[in-house]
């Protein structure tokens, strides 16, 4: 059981981190959601895994630790609100900036030697300047 939960957390984190590293806001938002699932699960497991135990102190000799459950509830609520905010912000960025890239602009072109066409325009500009002088 421990192994299963650990693998689940690992896979969720892995997928989350992979998606967060993508350049589009939608995949980043998805990645953040998966990552927060992983975090919540991790937080929950920190109270150790038990089955069939009461979650509060009672006459029973052993019980499930209620604190991580309370923590994870808080974390879920906050995470949910934050995800909603990111989605709205991503939508807004898309309409306002005209791109869903996380930098707000499409990927900058790699630095290469200026193409022939660009060279021509540069030369043309130089010529014009020369004329002006």
């Amino acid at each position: 059981m421990e192994l299963l939960v650990a693998i689940a957390i690992g896979v969720l984190t892995f997928s989350g981190v992979y998606l967060i590293l993508r350049a589009r806001t939608f995949s980043v938002a998805l990645g953040l959601t998966l990552f927060s699932y992983a975090v919540n699960l991790f937080l929950f497991v920190m109270g150790r895994l038990h089955t069939g135990k009461p979650a509060v102190l009672s006459d029973a000799t052993s019980y499930t630790d209620p604190v991580p459950q309370a923590l994870v509830l808080t974390a879920i609520v906050i995470g949910f609100a934050m995800t909603a905010f990111v989605l709205i912000l991503a939508l807004r960025a898309n309409t306002e900036l005209g791109s869903d890239h996380v930098d707000g602009v499409e990927k900058a072109k790699p630095l290469k030697k200026p193409s022939k066409a660009a060279n021509k325009t540069v030369q043309a500009k130089k010529k014009r300047k020369g004329v002006a002088r």
Partner: protein
């Protein structure tokens, strides 16, 4: 129990909630609620500072659940000082915003109040998970405040800021979970006790959790590899928001200071001073790179954003040193850098408003309407922020440089003085470009807002005042530094048993 400890959190929360519901009420009412709230907050902060200055650590158990089971608020000299710094800043920021900036978007005052509640809570809490909750409160308010006024630049900056901080929140939760899973407690003082006794695998896990926490706080504080979001965010924010954000990096630094002195303090054995060697190097690198960034900045606001980074590096260096004298100097420099940089952000806004569409960018613009007045104000503020005598920046740096010894000394001297020189060059380049190199077209900007300028200069006046009243301020910061290094007194105040 002193119930006043709750006020810095509850007052802005209640006022914020009131302001949320009053979107259709008259503007005068909204503004006066906000103004009254920050003034009361200031009075409360002064009162708490006075009660904390006798050196007693006050603990407020929420709902009277005793530590370590319930959540506690903790007031010592350090947190009282941070509350006062925040409250003073809040008063000036709010009054500056009343001059019209609050109308550039909806719910400015409500968001400001929530942000203050989060910041004050983060300074007061003695519980790790509670700290997470207050961080989230201040962050979500800051997301919306950063977007205040909208526009493409702000949305671009906010996207990075929000995503990075959400990842930070996730890591914070992992760290909190690890602490709870290993130690079975989230109370910071109780954690300090546990770390002192832990060994082997337990200690290793606690160190991992501590390192994660430093990473998260570092993201807020914005030192070297975690700072990339800051220049764009601060440069694009509306002036009062940028000024208020001057305290935001300090929240991260405060949390690092709290953890490195309390949980991983001297009693922690091999884990004591977790990560300080690395933080020292990062601090020096931050100062240098930020100074270069300030030199290369293309607008006044982005220059100021890099100066924020310089101050973060300087403060982090003081925290990494960790000695009583260094911490005392750090606290003094923290007060100075928060208020002066915030004042400069406001001043930059006033200057930018006289340049029309050019804003604060370093391009040759029209003649300002009040070149002499604004020029003198900028000149004085630049001296204060660059750390030249006779203002408080100089004092803070001298105190810090005096506090180092040995190998660390020449490193810090070289970096701080070198970056100071680069900063001065950057600032004088900014000043000469803004005030001297102009084309002859007259400006069509609105006339100078004298009230706004008065508010700004009143905030900047804190710098000479910090020099005039250096004696009481420094003796307070020395006492605060001595107090946070004495971990046993925290255990006593919390009435936790067990020796360190």
């Amino acid at each position: 129990m002193n119930h006043w400890l709750l006020v810095p959190v509850l007052l802005p929360l209640i006022c914020g909630a009131l302001l949320m519901t009053s979107s259709r009420s008259p503007l005068g009412l909204v503004r006066s609620i906000s103004a009254v709230s920050v003034v009361l907050l200031l009075l409360c902060a002064v009162y708490l500072l006075m009660t904390a200055s006798n050196g007693q650590i006050q603990v407020y158990a929420l709902g009277n659940w005793s530590a370590p089971f319930g959540i506690v608020l903790l007031l010592d000299r350090l947190s009282a000082l941070m509350l006062l710094v925040t409250a003073v800043l809040a008063v000036f920021v709010t009054f500056y915003a009343l001059r019209g900036d609050d109308l550039r978007g909806s719910y400015f005052h409500a968001l400001l109040q929530f942000q203050l509640a989060g910041i004050n809570g983060a300074f007061l809490t003695g519980d790790l998970f509670n700290l997470f909750v207050f961080f989230e409160i201040l962050l979500i308010a800051s997301y919306a405040l950063l977007l205040h006024g909208l526009g493409a630049a702000r949305i671009r900056a906010a996207l990075h800021y929000v995503i990075l901080n959400l990842i930070g929140s996730g890591l914070f939760l992992i760290a909190a979970g690890l602490f709870y899973g290993v130690a079975g407690t989230l109370n910071m003082v109780d954690l300090a006790r546990f770390v002192a006794q832990a060994e082997g695998d337990q200690l290793f896990l606690l160190e991992v959790a501590g390192a994660l926490l430093i990473l998260v706080f570092g993201l807020k504080a914005a030192f070297l590899p975690l700072h990339f979001w800051l220049p764009r965010a601060y440069a694009s924010a509306t002036a009062p928001v940028a000024a208020l954000f001057a305290i935001m990096t300090k929240v991260g630094l405060y949390a690092i200071l709290r953890f490195s002195t309390l949980v991983f303090g001297e009693q922690a054995g091999t884990a004591s001073g977790l990560g300080t060697e690395l933080l020292w190097i990062l601090a020096l690198a931050t100062i240098l790179l930020a100074a270069l960034g300030a030199f290369a900045a293309s607008s006044l606001t982005s220059l100021l954003a890099y100066l924020v980074l310089v101050s973060v590096g300087t403060l982090l260096a003081g925290i990494a040193l960790g000695s009583e004298a260094a911490l005392s100097a750090t606290l003094y420099y923290l007060i100075h850098s928060t208020w002066v940089i915030a004042g400069l952000f406001l001043l930059a806004d006033i200057i930018a408003k006289q340049r029309g569409d050019l804003g604060s960018s370093f391009k040759v613009g029209p003649i300002l309407l009040n070149p002499h007045l604004l020029g003198i104000c900028f000149f004085l503020a630049a001296i204060a922020v660059a750390g030249l005598p006779p203002f408080s920046g100089f004092f803070g740096k001298v105190l810090l440089l005096q506090a180092v010894s040995g190998d660390a000394a020449w490193q810090l001297w070289a970096v701080v003085l070198g970056s100071g020189l680069i900063g001065v060059i950057g600032l004088s380049r900014a000043g000469s470009l803004l005030f001297w190199r102009q084309h002859n077209a007259p400006s069509h900007a609105a006339p100078l807002d004298k009230t706004a300028l008065t508010i700004t200069m009143a905030l900047l006046l804190s710098s000479p005042l910090l020099v005039v009243f250096a004696q009481p301020v420094i003796s307070y910061s020395e006492a605060a530094a001595a107090q946070i290094l004495d971990v046993a007194s925290y255990l006593q105040a919390m009435q936790l048993e067990g020796a360190l």
